[in-house]
């Protein structure tokens, strides 16, 4: 097993659409282990997608269960052929990307999504998720579609549309 090399934009492989996984074999499982090892080697990365290591397959990992400030989560998510089937609400948040070092910016994402994906045994799972975990999943699925958070940057001037969490 090895930590894979993370590719950085402007590498054009990050702008390509990835292919669905059709072969569920030992090679796939080996790749999944290496992808997770690579995610853990990145500083504080809550997710990684196969295109970030130059593999154009619809595979992503998200795990927001170990944050310093805890958020609602479904634990470690290994997602093969993931699809978002429902979007709801909009929320602005700040994102960075392993493939775009030294920059963070504001991005609007759906606040609540329904997601379905396969595991390495080809079984499908579907559930709803919100907030930070939903944001991480949307960031990763964008990678599978050849999109970066840079494609979705918004100005700070959209601030007034944020939901209120504190009112004086």
């Amino acid at each position: 097993m090895a930590v894979l090399e993370i590719i950085h934009y402007p590498d054009q492989r990050l702008k390509q659409e990835s292919e669905p996984v059709t072969v569920f074999d030992q090679a796939l499982k080996d790749f999944l282990s290496e992808l997770e090892e690579t995610r853990l080697s990145g500083p504080g990365a809550v997710g990684i997608a196969a295109p970030q290591v130059g593999v154009a397959k619809r595979i992503a990992i998200v795990d927001v269960s170990k944050l310093k400030k805890p958020v609602d989560n479904h634990g470690y998510l290994l997602m093969i052929n993931p699809e978002i089937t429902h979007w709801e609400g909009m929320e602005k948040g700040r994102e960075g990307c392993l493939s775009v070092p030294d920059f963070t910016g504001n991005v609007i994402r759906a606040e609540k999504i329904k997601i379905r994906f396969q595991n390495s045994e080809q079984q499908w799972t579907e559930f709803e998720t919100t907030g930070y975990e939903a944001r991480a999943i949307q960031h990763e699925i964008d990678h599978l579609d050849g999109m970066l958070f840079l494609d979705r940057l918004v100005s700070r001037r959209t601030d007034l549309f944020e939901r209120k969490v504190y009112k004086k």
Binding site: G44, G47, K164, Y166
Partner: protein, 170 residues
């Protein structure tokens, strides 16, 4: 040895100012770093970090500044690396316009550890009932709770939202 300078250019707003100024810089092989440029009132204000081979930027920009009636100010910038700082709190403030609102809010939040990275204000509303809107991105050096607590001291009639920023890396 290349060095960084911070240019500030201000003048009456007109079309294609940015293109004119940045073309002069590009033709002289000056590299742009962070920049912030915006229309403010009837003026256009530009701030640009520029990396260059110790050139005389005042002479370089003299002609374009004359043509566009831009005031130019040049500072040497000692920060050689990327100066990006990560905000961890987002604050929006609004209310009926009155004098001293920015001073009051920033003063109170400063005592509770707010380090401002980016602040913008705007006027809105109607002529007889103007409102004031402020957005801040910053670092809560004593934590977001300290800011929330301090914000209770801000006058009635000022709406304030303090939202922690939890940056996602993926």
């Amino acid at each position: 040895m290349k060095k960084w300078s911070l240019l500030t250019l201000v003048g009456a707003d007109q079309q294609a100012i940015v293109a004119a100024v940045t073309r002069v810089l590009a033709e002289a092989d000056c590299e742009l770093g962070e920049t912030s440029m915006m229309r403010m009132g009837g003026s256009f204000a530009m701030m640009l970090r520029v990396r260059h081979e110790n050139q005389d930027l005042a002479t370089l920009l003299k002609e374009v500044c004359g043509q566009l009636s831009l005031h130019l100010h040049i500072d040497d910038d000692v920060d050689t690396a990327s100066s990006a700082m990560e905000p961890d709190v987002n604050i929006t403030v609004y209310g009926a316009d009155r004098s001293g609102i920015v001073a009051e809010v920033t003063g109170i939040l400063a005592t509770a550890g707010l380090n401002i990275i980016d602040l913008e204000t705007a006027m809105a509303g109607t002529a007889d009932k103007p409102i004031y809107i402020m957005t801040i991105e910053g670092q809560a050096l004593q934590g977001v709770d300290a800011l929330t607590e301090a914000a209770k001291m801000i006058s009635d009639g000022v709406e304030l939202n303090i939202i922690p920023i939890q940056t996602l890396r993926a």
